[in-house]
Symmetry: C2
């Protein structure tokens, strides 16, 4: 029997997504099942995508090396992650965590050097990783499937968790935990909000009264 | 001894604020203290107020009877509520609830007829109410104090609750309760989110996976 799976949509650019992925990683250690999915903030915030016709500008239609540093770096990182995913779920998680930590914990740029180092730290088969990365069209198709599903769900920020029951919400929090008990409390509170009979749509801090960092 | 007071910022135009005020009203019956405060959605969403310089366009600077129906009706309702408040806290609450119910439960227009009927249902001294409403400058000053504090806090939607500890967040939910036990559960869950050690900034549903109405 497999546990019901929660999809977590993220962008490597986002420090809140990093904390969300760390949370999910801790929960995986307690038997919870999460699937790594990609949502592009650059695409989501692109001026051409504001209209009623949905997504017009896709990150996956952009050449590597074009656009803003955010665009270039996030596209390269997403494609690399889809290449890493071909080495199995555990190595996909290890690569994702290593790349997130490089950028948001160790404050490195999300570039080729960070990708190479994350691959090494994760323990990927580097030859197979390089070979997988060479199939750019295949990786783009795989990324496009994530981005299309995110658009269908109406993801607008990361991390967004999609629970097995189909409910989905952006969950933004300021603090990092790698403690199993704390992670479970934070996760259960999120689930309680989504399942509440109140039908909670939004809880969001007033602009000048931000959440407190620990 | 008085209970620590939570401020609730609302606009009569907003159905979510209505549910929030009903929730607060039920909790008042259990000894919780809430203070009625006004935030103007028309002002908050006004195109002149998008910049860094804060509020440029104030609802309180607009003549009665000018602008969109939303602007006209909400200004008149706010001023009427400040007049009702002069008859004491309980009658202020009764008037606020009656006016909210007229608009959002009985689907009436937020106009002079609705205000007059709410005053009657609430049991206001109608002569004193009329006299208080005639002091338009005083009511505008009183409303302005609410709007200025909302701007200082960074309120952006209603209902927004400001807890005694200073934390403040928009709390949007789809369902109505007048059941004391349910109200307490919904309220405690909101408080738990604001007090969580995660430092929760936002929980917000994905656009195409809305919260379920009961």
């Amino acid at each position: 029997m497999t546990a019901p799976t929660t999809d977590v949509f993220f962008d490597f650019l986002c420090p809140y997504a990093w904390r969300g992925i760390e949370l999910a990683a801790v929960l995986r250690g307690q038997g919870h099942a999460f699937r790594l999915r990609h949502f592009s903030l650059v695409q989501g915030n692109h001026e051409e995508n504001g209209g009623k016709e949905g997504v017009v500008w896709w990150l996956t239609d952009q050449p590597l090396g074009e656009g803003s540093p955010y665009q270039r770096n996030s596209l390269a990182a997403f494609l690399a992650a889809h290449a890493a995913a071909q080495q199995g779920e555990e190595l996909h998680w290890a690569f994702t965590l290593a790349l997130f930590r490089a950028v948001h914990e160790h404050k490195k740029t999300l570039d080729e050097a960070a990708i190479a180092e994350a691959a090494q730290i994760a323990g990927l088969n580097l030859e197979a990783f390089a070979a997988a990365r060479a199939d750019e069209a295949g990786l783009r198709a795989s990324l496009r499937a994530d981005l299309a599903e995110a658009a269908e769900i109406g993801v607008f920020g990361t991390p967004t968790f999609v629970l097995p029951d189909g409910s989905a919400a952006y969950y933004r929090f300021e603090n990092l935990t790698r403690d199993p008990e704390t992670a479970l409390v934070w996760w259960n509170l999120y689930g309680e909000v989504l399942r509440s009979s109140a039908g909670i749509a939004t809880i969001k801090r007033a602009k000048n009264r931000p959440a407190q960092k620990a």
